[in-house]
Amino acid sequence: MIEPSATPMLDLRARPSWRSTKNVIMCGVMVGAFVLVAIPLVAVLWSVISRGAGTAFSGFPAFFTKEIPNISRLPGPGMGPAIVGTLLVTLGATLIAVPLGILGAVYLHEYGRESKFSRLVRFMSVVMTGVPSIVMGLFVYVIWTMRFGYSAFGGSIAMACLMLPIVIGSTEQMLQLVPPHLREAAYALGTTKSRTILTVVLPAALPGIVSGSLLAVARAAGETAPLLFTIGAATQFNTHLFGGANNALSAQIFINANSSFAGAQDRAWGAALTLVLLTFAITMIARVFTARVAMKR
């Protein structure tokens, strides 16, 4: 036990001052900002779950398998065609954008490096991520839909245009993490550059590339604007990628949100829940791959 008389001659306790008060206030503001961000997240998720779960899961799996009612004011299930459409459009977009994006990133990092052309492409690809999705939609309307009509594939092209620069960016980042000595090892065995890239560099970067691409897919799957002009609004199932009008969850939500009928609004909430679950699931899978990249390092 220390005697109370052993008071320190030196007082190192913080003294109350305007400086320390200000510090506390500003730190409080930062915490407050975070709370402010969390509020809409929680509110949106709460609304989507509380209002969407009833519609989506009552009489399961009717909501996911039934066709969309032709008369939108009628209550009752049906988002099946929109779910199929979203999956189809997203799949098509992935098949277009991911290989092209990886190839583009391979050019930037393995061939072009700091050449004028590759710096221009790198810069413009960042700029391209900022092109509004509605512009992409109208662009595809002008070059594709005006000629070939509504189809899931038109939506896929528009979505792929949005994904391409994202995939290029994330893939190039991952290629930068592949140690140069792996490339040298392959070259020293008499491997051509293209085979080195295909058999050594890309496999080494694969988890990161998958993760980045999945995040791009998750973002694209929720996009609405590019689809409004390109896929149409079919209420029946259409599993053809190229033929005929299709539908998508996001487009259905947009249409139904503008409706004043409770039945249509309910279906919008159900579709919103489905879409959120879908995008969250893709994001989670991406996270798993990100974790694998982190562990490897």
């Binding site: 930062m30 989507v48 072009g112 391209m128 509605i134 799957a221």
Partner: protein, 318 residues
């Protein structure tokens, strides 16, 4: 025997082919951007030709009469974006500083996850929430705000009368929620490049945590944060669906009253496309061209600022 040695390769053709394939994929970026500019301008040239400068200066938008003045939509786009930036920037700054400077290590990852989730929620879901859940109750709140500031010169007209649930302000709020994760993640990246020794130097001089942030972190990250804000601005201007649902879709409204309903370029395109005839569609595409040009300019400026400041801070670190 020696000179007969053959050192010509075999797989070189495939190698060259792959290289060209990669170049082609990279060039696709430029091709798409170029095609957007060319094809859409061509498709909408009739409207630009007919309306001339009126397209930018008139607010009379009457499709049946063939009158297409886009000024009110340009105004709406800019005004909602400014509202969104005004709301999102302070919050994004707070959050990114909180994550990088204050939060304990174990809390960082969960916080980043929360922001990522916010970024992943589709904009149409925000729109749905905005129009069906938020717009009603917030109108009462707007009324209270208006009553509180009524009579004060500038504030009185900004927070003006007859507040609407679907208005510039509501659109601005939704846009702010959507661009906050974008600004935050970029700002976070920039802030994390602040050299540790500069921060320690500030702390060693007896600075409080906030003084350290003001003295070391913020000056270091200023450029990058400006770029991040510009990128957020670009996104806010291009964001379509959420704005289309909550902005109110009124025609020809140019007002500084944040509580009045209005319209923006992407919103009017999304809302009117379904019932538009050919010339009307051309006019909507013309709006998209204007939007494209504005966002490209904003994004070019933003990326230039970000790239410069990143290069500079990397230079400091090495």
């Amino acid at each position: 025997m020696a000179s007969q040695l053959d050192l010509r390769g075999t797989g070189d053709g495939a190698d060259r082919a792959f290289r060209w394939l990669a170049i082609g994929a990279a060039a696709l970026v430029l091709l798409i951007l170029g095609l957007i500019a060319i094809t859409m301008t061509e498709r909408s040239s009739s409207v630009f030709g007919k309306m001339g400068l009126d397209f930018f200066t008139s607010k009379r938008w009457a499709p049946p009469d063939g009158q297409f003045g886009g000024l009110s939509f340009i105004w709406g786009t800019l005004y909602t974006s400014v509202i969104a930036i005004a709301l999102a920037v302070p919050i994004s700054m707070g959050v990114s500083l909180f994550i990088t400077q204050l939060a304990p290590r174990w809390l960082k990852m969960p916080l980043v996850y929360v922001l990522d989730l916010l970024a992943v929620i589709p904009s149409v879901v925000f729109g749905l929430w905005g129009v069906l859940t938020l717009a009603g109750p917030i109108q009462h709140f707007y009324t209270h705000v208006h009553n509180a500031v009524a009579g004060i010169p500038l504030l009185g007209s900004i927070f003006g009368d007859s507040p609407q649930g679907r208005s510039f302000m509501t659109a601005g709020i939704i846009l702010a929620v959507m661009i906050t994760p974008i600004i935050t993640s970029l700002a976070r990246e920039v802030i994390e490049t602040t050299p540790q020794n500069e921060k320690e130097a500030a702390l060693a001089l007896g600075a409080t945590r906030w003084e350290m942030i003001r003295g070391a972190v913020i000056p270091h990250s200023k450029g990058g944060i400006t770029g991040a804000v510009m990128l957020g601005l670009g996104r806010a201007m291009g964001e379509t669906i959420a704005a289309a649902l909550v902005i109110g879709a009124s025609i020809g409204q140019i007002s500084i009253n944040v509580f009045s309903s209005g319209n923006s370029m992407p919103a009017v395109i999304a809302n009117e496309w379904g019932e538009a005839d050919e010339i009307h569609k051309s006019a909507l595409i013309a709006l998209a061209v204007v939007l494209f040009v504005i966002t490209i300019i904003v994004n070019v400026i933003a990326s230039t600022i970000v790239r410069r400041s990143m290069a500079r801070s990397r230079g400091v670190r090495r």
